[in-house]
Every structure is written in C-alpha cells, then in structure tokens.
C-alpha cells in the first residue's frame, strides 16, 4: 500500500477502478471505485461514482454513493448528491448535500440522558417564592408609595 495515484484536472476516466493506495482526483471520474486507501476529490473534480473506500474527502462535485470503512469528509466547497455511509462523517459549513446519510454505529442501545438532566430545573422555583412574598411587605412599610408598589408586584405575579 501507500502508493499515490492521481487523476489530474485535464483528465477524464470512465470505468472500473480498483486497488490499493491513496488517490487524488482533480479531473473527471465516472464508474466504480473500490480502493483500499484514502480518496481525495479535489475542488476541481467531478465524480459520478459508486465508491467503496477506506476514507474519502470530497471538495468537488460528487454524484453517487460512498461506503467508507473509516470516514467521509465533505469540505466547504463540496456539492454532493447521493448516499453516504461511514462510521464517521463530517460536513463542513458551506457544503451542499442531498441524499441519505448513514452512520452504521448509530444504533441507540441505551436511553439518552439529556432529557433526565432537564427535569430538576423546576425545583428552584418554590425557593424563589418566599422572596417575592417578602417584597410587598417591605413596600407597605414605606407609606406614601405603597399603592403603586403593590400594583407593580401584582403584575409581576401575574406574569409568573
């Protein structure tokens, strides 16, 4: 492995590609790709592929399907239509994607904890109540402005 393959910007390849090594596509490729290695579809590339690879980074135009055993990365300039499947998938802001996206490891085996954590939030509310109750009492102590203060506290209570 470890071989570097490159399909340059001025080159078009149609057919079946298979083998090992890392492949950089800057031109146009159409067909099937089975590669034990990493693929980079550069921003200048146009790919119509059924691809089965170790990992792929797409920065150009891509139509078809990808199954990657490790990861799929869509760069900010990617325009992708098709089905993606990999344990790790990232989509950069700016990328355009339409299709199905599947992470095979994403099987909910245990309940999520996030909703349970929000439940105790209601508890502090009763503790706040005595404080607001004490406020009108203090306001009544200051005689002339008592009426206005009380009305303000009632509107506040209504809001709750």
């Amino acid at each position: 492995m470890g071989n570097q393959h490159q399909i340059g910007e001025g080159v078009r390849l149609a057919g079946a590609i298979r083998g090992a090594g890392d492949l950089v596509i800057a031109g146009e490729v159409e067909g099937t790709l089975t590669l034990d290695g990493e693929v980079t579809c550069a921003a200048t590339s146009t790919c119509t592929l059924e691809a089965q690879v170790t990992a792929i980074r797409i920065e150009g135009r891509f139509t078809g399907s990808v199954t990657a055993s490790r990861r799929i990365d869509l760069g900010a300039t990617a325009i992708v239509a098709g089905d993606l499947s990999a344990p790790t998938v990232t989509i950069a802001e700016g990328a355009a994607f339409r299709g199905r996206l599947e992470m095979p490891d994403a099987t909910p085996t245990e309940p999520r904890r996030a909703p349970a954590a929000t439940a105790p939030v209601s508890e502090p509310e009763p503790a706040a109540a005595p404080e607001s109750a004490a406020e009108p009492a203090a306001a009544e102590a200051s005689a002339p402005k008592a009426k206005t203060t009380r009305s303000r506290s009632t509107t506040r209570a209504r809001k709750k």
């Binding site: 393959h5 399909i7 149609a14 079946a16 090594g21 950089v24 980079t40 550069a42």
Partner: protein
C-alpha cells in the same frame, strides 16, 4: 490527524499518475500528461504525453502526442509526435507515428507505420 493528511495530499494536484496497485478497466481521456504504473484495460485517448512505466501492464488502444513504453503495452498505438520503446519495454500491436525509436533489449511485435 486524518484531515491534515488529506489536506496535504489535496494541495494543488498536478499531473496524472495511476500508480502501482491500481487497476482500471475503462476509458482514460484528457489533455494532460499521464503516467501509468499500474494496470489499465480499455482505451487511452490523450492530447498529451503518455508514459507506460516499468512494471505497468496496459491492454489498450492508445492515442497520444508522444508515448514512452518501459512497461508492457498490448494494443494499437497512434502518436502524433513520437513513440519510444525503452529497453525494459514490451509492445505488442500496430504503431503509427512519424518518429519511432526502439531501444536494445525491448521486445516488439506488430506493424510500424511512420507515414514514410
């Protein structure tokens, strides 16, 4: 970590290299020089140079401006500029080009047409 490796390889790719370990069945075409080190079956149509490197196995009809063969090529060849069969090269097929050279040690079987 993988991303940085991707980033390095993605920087301004130039030229086309089908390295050892890659097998292509289909059509390769374009306007940029191509080096074949792996296997290709099908056809190659270039308005640029093609190199069939030592160790490469190509079964294809080839059209290119110039062709260097150091590996194995089976197919008919048309090159508008030149064809050079290197000492490690093996070419089976008909060749049509204004300039053709065959190095000592190379093997060839086919018809040659230099438009003479």
């Amino acid at each position: 970590m993988a991303q940085s490796r991707f980033g390095a390889s993605a920087s301004a790719p130039s030229g086309t290299v089908i390295g050892n370990g890659l097998v292509i069945e289909g059509e390769l075409s374009g306007s940029e020089a191509v080096t074949l080190e792996g296997e290709l079956r099908g056809s190659v149509q270039l308005t640029a140079a093609l190199t069939v490197a030592a160790g490469a196995a190509v079964e294809a009809d080839v059209t290119a401006t110039s062709l260097d063969v150091a590996g194995s090529l089976v197919g008919n060849v048309a090159a508008s500029d030149r064809v050079a069969l290197q000492e490690t090269g093996k070419l089976i097929g008909d060749v049509r080009s204004p300039r053709i050279s065959i190095a000592e040690g190379a093997s060839f079987k086919g018809h040659i047409d230099m438009d003479a």
